[in-house]
Amino acid sequence: MEIEYSIEDVIEEFEKGNSDFAIFMFRQITSDKKKKKSAQFIDLEKKLANYILACIHEHKIRELDRTMSQKLIEQVDLILEWDPHHYQALNIRGMLYINLDEYERAIEDLSLAIGIELIEDDAYVNRGIVYYEMGDYQNALCDLDLADALSIDDPYVLFCRGNVYYEKKDFLSAFADFYLAFEKGYSDNSMLLKMLLSKYRIGNSVETYSLSEELAATFAALPSLSLSIFHEIRGLSLYDMSCFEDALEQIHMAIASDMDRSSLYYHRGMIFNCLKRNEEALNDFSRALQLDKEYAKAYFGRAICYENKNEKQRAFKDYANAFFYDPKMKKAAESMTELSG
């Protein structure tokens, strides 16, 4: 004999956390077409949908792993079965697809959601994120501009758009968005670092350094990896300002927080070079190359050290490696020509 379940049974199982069984029961109920059409049933379905969405919202959707995302997609599917135009469900499923790297499906859902609610910013933001992940920065910017217009300086939207500008290497716009988001209270660590890096890449080392001073308190609580980046940027700013001793101190601190990042040894090698400490520079470039065998700049730096020591053959080989790994490094090729003459 077949057991008959009610919507209340389904909700009860959901509340117990037995979502798989709840879905099974719900499917049993919906197979009865007569029941499905009743007003009472439709009302209960809505309750169930709201309940599922509320449960999903409790999670930080963007931080869910693949298994959880997959599981939640099944629940959202349930809602979309009885209401294919459910804005929230489409928006959430789109976000869940992002977690699964299924960008085409995500765009499909989010575009449907946008078609349903043209003036809601959520789906625009999410679709902008998908385009960003796909490297389609032009479309990402279109969506995020619209989301920004609809939400009016929502810091999360600014953060997302800042990321797009950052990837496009439009550091001026990236910095503007990050800074506005920061002023509005958004303080994601990765954003703060990118904000500082954007400032540095705009080419104003003095302002970068003073910004780093402003952020120093925030950064005190950073995990060691991020702290290392923070000190690195400060060190680089000081290096650009020709304050080599202070720059060296910052890079020392950066290395103390992260001993396995090749770029730090490269930067310290460059500083040692400026301080005419050739052997220490050479050691640092070699260390950078131990960590990253294809680090063209480090080969170039070490080649200069070898030239300083009049070890021309070794210098030539390092220039040759530098040019191999970075064909844009014309200087390395020119040095090769000079040394081989």
């Binding site: 040019f323 191999f324 064909p327 090729a333 020119e334 081989s340």
Partner: protein, 363 residues
């Protein structure tokens, strides 16, 4: 095909660097021809090799036959004096006094060659640096090293972990790699090096489009050289069009002329006569078959030999040559000669086969 140990490669490298000739810049006016094989360069007495003399004669535009004619008619001493007079006359004209590079074996006081200064010779130290960048980057195994009398050097290296097959041909699985050479005439040259796994035969393919020659060190040339290597590596060191060539060679009979040419080449390099080469190039067996058929191959013109189909495919001929070059067959062959045979085999593979132009006739 064995990998040569790192230590052996390093020993070879230092030998190649030490053996390379000194590059002395100068002009023809600074060279005095003292005797047939004696010169004075910037006041320094040197012996001269046959190659160096050929170079000088070429620069002075004296034909080889004229050299012999003079020696026969006026005697060697007068010939030398006459040629030196021509040299002096030519260098007084500025246009004939171009900058030259004299290649001098400073240890033995020998002039080994003369080339135009516009050819920027790559030293073996430079050559090794560039080769090492490639070998290190792609983790290649060095399987062959050769050093010539005039300091010319060649390295064969393969990528053991990457292999590929040719269509659905049985036993045709290959490793690819590079063959990099340096000499004062051809500059630095990059070619594909191929290792046929079933028999470990090596082949140097200089005629595929991936080949690159660098006679002058410049950013543009180095960039092109690296690009060629990167493109080759991206295809797992399989030259463009290689499969098609092998398949075609597999299905095309060699002509008698091609077979004779291969046999003659092996004889010249190894000193082994026809019968000793049968295992690799079955020329005698082929000629016997023709004889049995009533055709005396010795009487055929070169053009007819081109049209005489043998029972050996081009691919079998190529493999015969590469097998001869790669393995120790009890025949003394130095690595330079082995490389030359592997290059010739590669050329045979890439040429337009004689039997390619045969037409099926309806009559």
């Amino acid at each position: 095909m064995k990998t040569i140990s790192h230590n052996k490669v390093m020993e070879f490298k230092s030998e190649a660097i030490n053996k390379q000739p000194l590059r002395v810049k100068g002009t023809m006016s600074e060279l005095d021809l003292v005797g047939y094989d004696q010169v004075e360069l910037k006041g320094m007495g040197l012996k001269m090799t046959e190659t160096a003399r050929e170079h000088i004669w070429k620069i002075l535009r004296i034909h080889k036959s004229m050299d012999k004619l003079l020696a026969d008619t006026v005697g060697e001493k007068n010939r030398d004096a006459f040629i030196n007079t021509i040299r002096k006359a030519k260098v007084t004209d500025g246009a004939n006094n171009a900058k030259l590079l004299f290649l001098v074996d400073h240890q033995n006081q020998i002039l080994k060659g003369v080339v135009k200064d516009e050819i920027q010779l790559l030293g073996n130290d430079t050559f090794f640096s560039l080769a090492e960048v490639i070998i290190d980057k792609y983790g290649l195994d060095v399987t062959g090293l050769s050093l010539g009398d005039e300091g010319q050097v060649n390295i064969n290296a393969i990528h053991r972990n990457k292999f590929w097959e040719i269509g659905n041909l049985k036993d045709e699985t290959f490793n690819g790699g590079v063959s990099i050479s340096n000499d004062y005439q051809g500059g630095m040259q990059l070619s594909s090096f191929l290792n046929r796994l079933v028999c470990s035969n090596g082949l140097i393919a200089t005629k595929f489009s991936d080949t690159f020659k660098m006679t002058k060190m410049s950013p543009k040339n180095v960039h092109q050289f690296y690009s060629s290597v990167k493109n080759l590596a991206a295809r797992d060191f399989k030259p463009v069009g290689f499969s098609e060539k092998v398949i075609k060679a597999h299905h095309t009979s060699a002509s008698l002329r091609e077979m004779e040419s291969a046999s003659k080449f092996l004889t010249t390099l190894s000193g082994v006569r026809d019968s000793g080469l049968e295992k690799w190039v079955p020329l005698l067996a082929t000629e016997n078959r023709f004889r049995e058929h009533g055709v005396r191959t010795g009487k055929l013109s070169a053009a007819k030999k081109k049209n005489a189909r043998t029972g050996t495919t081009v691919w079998e001929l190529v493999n015969g040559m590469t097998h001869f070059a790669t393995h120790d067959n009890g025949i003394h062959l130095n690595q330079i000669k082995r490389d030359e045979i592997q290059i010739r085999a590669g050329e045979l593979l890439c040429k337009d086969y004689d039997m390619n132009n045969m037409v099926e006739s309806p009559f």
